[in-house]
C-alpha cells in the first residue's frame, strides 16, 4: 500500500493551484465533517468547469481539492460524475486507475478508512454545486 502522503500531496497542500474564492462563479457547494471540523467550500464556473475552493482542514483534504480542480478542468458534468465515482472507488479499494492520473496519489488512503472522508469531501461539495448549476 502506497504512503498516503506522496510528495505530490504535500506539494499541493503547501502550494495549491486552485485555492481561494474567485470573483465570478456560477455555483457553489460545501461539505463539512463535524467529527474533525473539516470544511470545504467549492466554487464552479460552468465554462471550462473551472473550480476554486476554500478549505479548513487537513493536508489530505486540501490536496484532494486541488487535484480535483485539476482533474475536472474542461470536463462535462457527466464526466465529473464519472470521475467522482472512480475516485471514491480508488480511495476505498486502493487500486490505482490509469484514467485518474495524478489523483492516484491518494490511493494510499484506503488503509485509513477514517481518513477517506477527508479526500472525498471536496468531491461531494462539487457534486452539490453542480446540482445547483
Amino acid at each position: 500500500m502506497s504512503h498516503p502522503y506522496q510528495a505530490l500531496i504535500v506539494e499541493r497542500h503547501k502550494h495549491p493551484l486552485h485555492a481561494g474564492k474567485p470573483a465570478h462563479f456560477d455555483a457553489q457547494g460545501q461539505g463539512e465533517n463535524p467529527i474533525c471540523g473539516d470544511a470545504v467550500h467549492v466554487y464552479v464556473s460552468r465554462k471550462g468547469m473551472d473550480v476554486y475552493y476554500e478549505t479548513e482542514g487537513c493536508a489530505i483534504m486540501n490536496a484532494s481539492a486541488d487535484l480535483m480542480a485539476d482533474a475536472v478542468a474542461g470536463k462535462t458534468p457527466e464526466q465529473v460524475e464519472q470521475l467522482h465515482h472512480d475516485f471514491e472507488k480508488l480511495v476505498t479499494t486502493g487500486e490505482e486507475n490509469p484514467d485518474l492520473g495524478e489523483l492516484n496519489a491518494l490511493a494510499g488512503l484506503a488503509a485509513y478508512s477514517s481518513r477517506i472522508r477527508c479526500a472525498t469531501l471536496p468531491w461531494s461539495a462539487l457534486a452539490e454545486a453542480l446540482h445547483h448549476v
Binding site: 463535524p34 478508512s113 477514517s114
Partner: protein, 412 residues
C-alpha cells in the same frame, strides 16, 4: 469443526469446546443448561485472545493502524450479523449488551415516542421477564396498557385469545418470544407478524432461544424488531443484538447519550448520528463483538440444517426417555418444539433434583426460569429444565434419565 449434514460428528464438535472435558464432583460434566448460556468453542476463545494479543485499540476515528484494523474487524461483524439474520442492511444491526437491553432500548425509545398513553402492548403468557418487565415499566411510566395473550394447555399461542386481545384496535405492539425458554415451544412468527401487521401493530420478536437452533430470516418473518444475546449462541457475554427495520430506526430517538452516538455537540444543541450509531453510546463491547463474529462463523460452518436435525433427534430421544419415567411430568407438548424440556417429579422439589443431579455431574437448571407468570399458568412454583446444544449427546440424555431414577429411589 468437521460437521456437515451428512456427517454430523458430535465427538469432533465436542473437541471444539474445551470445557466439555471438565469433571464435576469427580464425574464427567454433563452440561444440560445451554439455554441459560451456552459453552464457547475454541474459535471464539481464540478470536477474543487474538484481539487482545495482536490487534487492539478503541474503535472508530482512531487514525492509527491498531484502531483502523480493530474498527474494521468490529464493523465486519455488523455485516456478518446482518447476513446471519438476513437483514436488508447493516445499518439495521445495533449492538447491545444482551437481549434484555435490546428490548429495553425499544421500550425506552420507540415505546415512549411511537406509543401514546392508552395504546396497548401485547405479550404472551410464556414470556421471559426480559420481554415482560420492560413493558410493565413502560405501562407504569407512560400510561400504555399491557395485555396478555393466553397459551393453550399444550403450551402454544391461543389464537382465539390473540383475536380478543387485538379486537379493539388498541394494540400497537405484539412483543413475543420465538421459542419459550421453559416449554421449548416455537411460536409461528410469520403468522404472528402477519396478524400484527393486519391489525395495525408492529411485532417485536424475542429470538434469544430460537436463534440458537434455527436459521432466522427477519425479512421473511417480516419482523419489525428482533432481539438476541451472543452468549446463548456460543459467543461471549456482554454482547447482544437488536435488529429493527431501517425506517423505524430512523424515527427513533437515542437511548443513551455519550460518545459515538452524536453527529455534533454544543451546549445548546446536540445532533445525533444516524442509525446504528445513534443507539450505541460509548466504547462498545469490542472484544465481545469480534467474539460473536467468530461464534456466527462457527455455527454457519456447521449449518442449521445439521444442527436442527441433531437437536430434533436429541429432543425426541429425551421426550421418549424422560416421559416414561415413573413420577416424572414433562411440561408442554407443542407440535413444534425444540430442545428445551421442563419437568417436575412427584415428591421431589426442582431444587432437590438440580442439586442431586449436580452430584452426578449433570447440570440442569431449576426454578422459575425468569418466567414467574408462566409458572402460575402451569400450576407449579418451579421446574427442572434440561436444554440441549449442538454438542449434546444421546448418552448425556441417558445419563439424565438414569440420574432421575436414582433421585426417585432416594425420595421414594
Amino acid at each position: 469443526m468437521s460437521a456437515t449434514l451428512e456427517t454430523f460428528d458430535v465427538a469432533a464438535i465436542r473437541d471444539d469446546f474445551p470445557i466439555l472435558k471438565q469433571q464435576v464432583h469427580g464425574k464427567k460434566l454433563v452440561f444440560l443448561d445451554s439455554a441459560a448460556s451456552a459453552q464457547k468453542p475454541r474459535a471464539v476463545i481464540d478470536a477474543m485472545c487474538h484481539v487482545m494479543e495482536a490487534q487492539y485499540a478503541n474503535v472508530h476515528r482512531g487514525l492509527h493502524y491498531m484502531s483502523e484494523k480493530t474498527s474494521d474487524a468490529f464493523e465486519a461483524v455488523r455485516d456478518k450479523v446482518a447476513g446471519f439474520i438476513n437483514a436488508a442492511s447493516r445499518e439495521e444491526i445495533i449492538f447491545t449488551r444482551n437481549a434484555t437491553e435490546s428490548i429495553n432500548l425499544v421500550a425506552y425509545t420507540w415505546g415512549r415516542t411511537a406509543l401514546k398513553p392508552g395504546d396497548a402492548v401485547a405479550v404472551s403468557e410464556m414470556e421471559h421477564h426480559a420481554n415482560l418487565v420492560p413493558w410493565q415499566m413502560l405501562r407504569d411510566a407512560h400510561g400504555t396498557e399491557l395485555r396478555i395473550v393466553k397459551i393453550t394447555d399444550s403450551g402454544e399461542i391461543d389464537f382465539d385469545s390473540l383475536e380478543q386481545v387485538f379486537a379493539d384496535g388498541k394494540v400497537k405492539l405484539l412483543a413475543i418470544t420465538q421459542m419459550s425458554n421453559v416449554l421449548g415451544t416455537y411460536t409461528p412468527v410469520e403468522r404472528l407478524a402477519k396478524f400484527a401487521h393486519e391489525h395495525g401493530a408492529k411485532i417485536l420478536i424475542d429470538g434469544c432461544q430460537a436463534i440458537v437452533h434455527r436459521a432466522i430470516d427477519v425479512q421473511a418473518i417480516d419482523a419489525d424488531f428482533f432481539a438476541f444475546s451472543g452468549h446463548k449462541l456460543y459467543g461471549p457475554t456482554g454482547i447482544g443484538v437488536l435488529y429493527a427495520k431501517r425506517e423505524i430506526l430512523e424515527e427513533m430517538p437515542p437511548f443513551m447519550g455519550g460518545g459515538e452516538m452524536i453527529a455534533s455537540v454544543s451546549y445548546e444543541k446536540t445532533t445525533f448520528a444516524k442509525p446504528p450509531f445513534r443507539f450505541e453510546a460509548g466504547t462498545p463491547a469490542i472484544i465481545e463483538t469480534i467474539g460473536l463474529g467468530a461464534a456466527i462463523d462457527y455455527v454457519n460452518a456447521i449449518g442449521f440444517e445439521a444442527i436442527a436435525a441433531h437437536e430434533r433427534a436429541l429432543t425426541e430421544h429425551a421426550l421418549a426417555t424422560l416421559g416414561t419415567l415413573e413420577g416424572v411430568n414433562i411440561l408442554g407438548q407443542a407440535q413444534d418444539r425444540g430442545g428445551v424440556i421442563s419437568f417436575t417429579m412427584r415428591g421431589a422439589h426442582a431444587h432437590d433434583i438440580a442439586t442431586l443431579l449436580d452430584r452426578q455431574g449433570i447440570a440442569v437448571r431449576a426454578g422459575h426460569h425468569c418466567a414467574e407468570p408462566l409458572m402460575g399458568r402451569l400450576g407449579v412454583t418451579s421446574t427442572a429444565r434440561a436444554s440441549f446444544a449442538l454438542y449434546t449427546t444421546t448418552e448425556e440424555i441417558d445419563a439424565l434419565a438414569h440420574g432421575m431414577q436414582r433421585i426417585r429411589q432416594i425420595f421414594a
